[in-house]
């Protein structure tokens, strides 16, 4: 089953085509790496997939819902986190969990039970009443991810979740992502760390609004005759004509 199906999806801002006829599918339980240089159109594409921006043309479904007509249903069936926006800094740990779970429509009983379970699982019980602002970045990211999948969405969108995170915290974070994927949550992730691209089942690379390559990391390396994903990325991204 496909959790995302997109065909000829396009977004124009005036005369500028940010996303240019992209087509792809993402399978259930897959970790899908969505790569591209700054300005290649990744964020615009994600906004369309999450139901917060209307496509100019094309068609698609996310979690089984139409991206044109069923934005609200999409929002209820996805999770989202990015490095730029994840948690409210001036709320406590438990208050952030409560807030997001409420927005996603969970009832009080569910929230209470699951909060206890989550804090235990993260070994965060002593931080329940801590202001998020005073947590180290690596902890914040772990908490933000846990909250993004707290309502067990079909798919979670992670927009540069590990930006600026140190190597040890980055790896802990990816162990959480792999764990979520094993449990059946589909993961759609962007990153600028090319070693992380290797952890994905499949990877697409956007160049100037188009998807220039889409395959497993293994096949992409073979096709580009590259040693690693960093080399694959550089070979493709260098073809970009758009200035960013």
């Amino acid at each position: 089953m496909n959790v995302i199906e997109v065909s000829e999806l396009t977004k124009k801002f005036g005369s500028f085509t940010a996303v240019d006829h992209i087509s792809f599918d993402v399978k259930e339980g897959e970790i899908f790496g969505f790569l591209g240089a700054n300005g290649a159109g990744k964020t615009t594409a994600i906004q369309m997939l999450c139901g917060i921006s209307n496509p100019t043309s094309g068609k698609g479904t996310v979690a089984g819902y139409d991206i044109f007509k069923e934005n609200e249903q999409i929002k209820h069936n996805i999770g989202y986190m990015s490095q730029k926006f994840s948690l409210y800094e001036d709320l406590k740990v438990w208050e952030n969990i409560r807030l997001f779970a409420g927005i996603y429509g969970m009832n009080d009983k569910e929230i209470k039970e699951n909060t206890r379970r989550l804090l235990k699982q993260l070994d965060f019980e002593s931080e329940r009443d801590t202001m998020v602002a005073s947590l180290p970045l690596g902890w914040k990211q772990k908490l933000a991810f846990s909250i993004a999948i707290f309502h067990t969405p079909k798919i979670v969108f992670l927009d540069e979740p590990t930006g600026g995170v140190d190597p040890a915290a980055r790896r802990q974070f990816w162990e959480m992502i792999l764990d979520a994927a094993y449990k059946g949550i589909t993961v759609f992730v962007t990153t600028h760390y090319m070693d992380e691209a290797e952890y994905c089942d499949r990877v697409s690379i956007m160049v100037d609004g188009r998807i220039d390559a889409l395959d497993t990391p293994h096949n992409l390396k073979q096709q580009s005759q590259a040693q690693n994903m960093d080399e694959v990325f550089r070979k493709l991204a260098r073809k970009a004509k758009r200035i960013n």
Partner: protein, 311 residues
């Protein structure tokens, strides 16, 4: 008995025993280092290690509790006004005026420092030309890569002696990162001293020297090669046909000190008494096939991860 023919390089930044606490939280617990003239000096450490506090003290934006820092002999506390003319500072967060255009931001920074864009254009030319097609665009509407180039131009326009770059490439794609480091090397050639922090370990190896910082202390200062050669463990790269549960299984093996994913393989640091054959057998017994195990040389990243375990 002649004079020494070896001339040691001039010291540009001299940091001595800096301490800084916020209430009960210790950010810097006594750091000292000296950075040579025209050196690229990297500050590498986990989040919350004290990197940003150090940058802010050197930029004269934060007062240390004790200790001192001199730049070309000028004290960052007593002579902060002089310091601000000597340094170009790029904070971790994008801090230009979002509602001014590219051109207006650069003009503003030049004017504040009593200079003109024309006077120091040679310093920023290579970088500025890349964003010039967008000079009338508001800074808030630039892409990440362009914002970073503009921020570097603004930090350079008054011809600073020292550049302080706090995680300048966070959120920047691999191609733009490479371009950014090419620019830093050009600036070094022009005699500018660069203090830079980063979470990318491949960038650490591009520095002349690096300081590893953890919990407000420097754990070591050396060349990247020197840091690597002080790694004392035996390190193996492991590749297996399937990876589900592999990390946990490797970590629970007796002689394994640590195991981390490194792209498509795993790096396994082992203790004395480790036997390659026994380990292979162990993995087979756990159901893993197509195992490829080989000894490898460590990278700065391996060193960093090892250091994190110790603390």
């Amino acid at each position: 008995m002649g004079k020494s023919v070896l001339t040691s390089p001039a010291i540009m930044i001299d940091v001595r025993d800096l301490h800084k606490s916020y209430g009960h939280t210790v950010a810097l617990a006594g750091v000292s280092c000296s950075v040579n003239d025209a050196e690229i000096f990297g500050i590498i450490g986990p989040d919350g290690a004290g990197k940003t506090s150090l940058f802010r003290i050197l930029a004269s934006l934060l007062l240390p509790d004790s200790g001192s820092a001199l730049m070309n002999g000028v004290d960052v506390v007593k002579d902060y006004e002089k310091i601000r003319r000597m340094i170009g500072y790029m904070p971790g967060k994008f801090s230009l005026y979002q509602d001014l255009t590219v051109e207006e931001n650069l003009y503003l920074f030049a004017t504040v420092f009593n200079t003109t864009i024309e006077e120091n254009y040679h310093l920023v030319k290579d970088i500025y030309q890349q964003i010039e097609p967008f000079k009338t665009r508001r800074a808030g509407r630039l892409s990440g890569g362009m914002k970073q180039k503009l921020a570097l131009c603004c930090a350079l326009i008054h011809k600073p002696e020292v550049l302080l770059l706090d995680e300048p490439t966070t959120g920047v794609d691999p191609v733009s990162r490479k371009e950014f480091w090419d620019m830093l090397r050009q600036l070094k050639k022009q005699g500018i001293t660069i203090l830079v922090s980063t979470a990318y370990m491949d960038e650490a190896s591009l520095c002349d020297r690096i300081a590893l910082i953890q919990k407000g202390r420097f754990l070591g200062i050396d060349t990247p090669q020197g840091i690597i050669s002080s790694y004392r463990r035996s390190l193996w790269s492991l590749h297996a046909g399937n990876v589900r549960g592999l990390l946990e299984n490797i970590r629970s093996y007796p002689h394994v000190r640590s195991c981390f994913a490194f792209g498509e393989s795993h790096h396994v640091a082992v203790e004395e008494g480790f036997s390659e054959r026994d380990f292979q057998q162990y993995l087979s017994s756990k159901g893993y096939g197509q195992i490829h195990l080989e000894p490898i040389s460590p990278t700065v990243e391996d060193f960093f991860l090892d250091m994190t375990i110790d603390n």
